[in-house]
Amino acid sequence: MMSKRKKLGREVAIVGAGMSQFGLFPEKNSKDLFLEAFLEMRDSVDKGVDLKEVEALYLGNFTNDFFTHQAHWGPIISDIIGLAPRPATRTEGACASSALAFREGVFAIASGMYDMVLVGGVEQMSACSTEQVAEGLALGTMPYEALAGFTFPGIFGAVATAYFAAFGASREQLMGVTIKSHNNAPLNPKGQIPLTVRDLMNKKAASFKRKEMSVPSWSDERDFLRDPQVNPMVAWPMHLFDCCPISDGGSCLLLTAADMATQFTDKPLYVAGIGQGSGRGFHASPEITSFEATKYAAQEAYGMSGMSASDIQFAEVHDCFSIAEIIHTEDLGFFAPGQGGHAVNDNLTALDGIMPINTSGGLKCKGHPVGATGTAQMVELWKQLRYEAGERQIPQPDLQIGLAHNLGGTGGTCTVTILERR
């Protein structure tokens, strides 16, 4: 499809970013979670900001209606952070809800309507049982999928079987993603599971010993992941360690018109490219081993930025399930079809690889409070591009361009955002 090169009406910058601790916090609600992110964002604005200047809020949230029996989160959050009576709009795109909020905020500034807006997302999942969460998330599947009996992990399991058959891949590639994400995890103080697979293996062994059970002699991390006793099947070939956890959390970013950005910081990030695509579910997708919404979103974002995949130095990629990260790194053009899994096992996507993927630990370890994930991915780009990522800082001397890819549902909504430090 030929598409004209789309440009924003005026340029947009990010001048502040924050996220709450991600994890399981049954004692906190969405107001608490978002406030935590908001206060960190406020403190991140280098030269300070009068938050009364914020003109509007765009808030991503997927299923608080279902999980908390409360909808209408835009004005509720707006009140908590002192923005009311200014406008607040909730966006919903399943697990890509806050990336849509980000886009709306960018468009609001690019249109000239506003000069400063807050965008973010929040999700509160842990108050529900695992079964209820699974049922709530299944609201984000496409028509016919859930009716046929598919669960969320089941959809990605089916994608994996098609991928395995097409490219001769196996669970060995999936395990590489899990091990890599967990290697980054202890370096992220905001993450939910700050442990390597080896840490988990040692913990499990200790727990077996405590219970006076015989401890299996796992030879290495992969051997551990192959053991169904510790890594049970969820939906073939997705096992427990292929799936991201249930999480609570919030995240947000402060956007301004680009020509104002240096009033607030000497290190703003600029929105170089944004894209969004829609997918059609198995019944109408041209391919099963590729997400057409990701490809479309990438084409838009690359087109706007004038960049290509080879210009991207690192990325946060939506790894709700291990197979998703592999396929998306192909759809984004980082690796050829069928090569994504090999790239992981060759350490190309490690923190010190040529294309670091999910330095935050990814959804797998950082956590996936679905509505908060999109803007939380951009919080990671913010930290990396400003060399504020601490122990997990990518060891490259001139990081300038990062990409965030957010997927909603089973591929129904995908967004790609390219951020640039100039």
Binding site: T130, E131, A134, E135, A138, P143, Y144, E145, A146, L147, A148, G149, F150, T151, P153, G154, I155, G157, A158, V159, A160, T161, A162, F164, A165, P232, M233, V234, A235, W236, P237, M238, G281, F282, H283, A284, S285, I288
Partner: protein, 138 residues
């Protein structure tokens, strides 16, 4: 001549009558299963019913142990997984369906590309929508 509307309700009614029915765009010949009333391909609304043979190849599958609520209600669970997948119909469209006649406890034995045909099941509960599946051609 069949006058049912080209929608999901009609699709499931036909399944209840053991017929796999979709629609065909009379303007551009595109086939849809389940049926559509509007053709995204050409923008036409000139649809006709089309009966599918119910034969295709297994394009993707999974065996689910952490089950969907409606499947738990049918007795499936960790020790009794079920298989669900995508069948690429001979006529072109892909369809989501239960996969029957395979060993869901041994997913390694299930092969992509296996030729499948449709099986109609008795609905197990009033809300059971999984009363159609595909199994390997013997």
């Amino acid at each position: 001549m069949e006058t049912k509307p080209f929608n999901d309700h009609s699709f499931y009614e036909f399944i209840g009558q053991q017929q796999l029915m979709g629609s065909k765009c009379e303007d551009c010949d595109t086939l849809y299963c389940p049926p559509r009333a509007f053709c995204p391909n050409c923008g036409g609304t000139n649809m006709a019913w089309h009966q599918f043979k119910g034969i295709g190849n297994l394009a993707a599958f999974t065996c689910i142990t952490v089950c969907a609520p409606q499947m738990i209600a049918l007795g499936y669970g960790r020790d009794n997984p079920y298989c669900v997948g995508v069948v690429h119909l001979e006529e072109g469209p892909k369809i989501d369906a239960r996969i029957l006649g395979v060993n869901a406890k041994k997913p390694e034995t299930i092969k992509i590309g296996t030729k499948m045909n449709i099986q109609y099941l008795e609905a197990e509960t009033e809300n059971d929508t999984s009363f159609m599946g595909f199994s390997p051609v013997k």
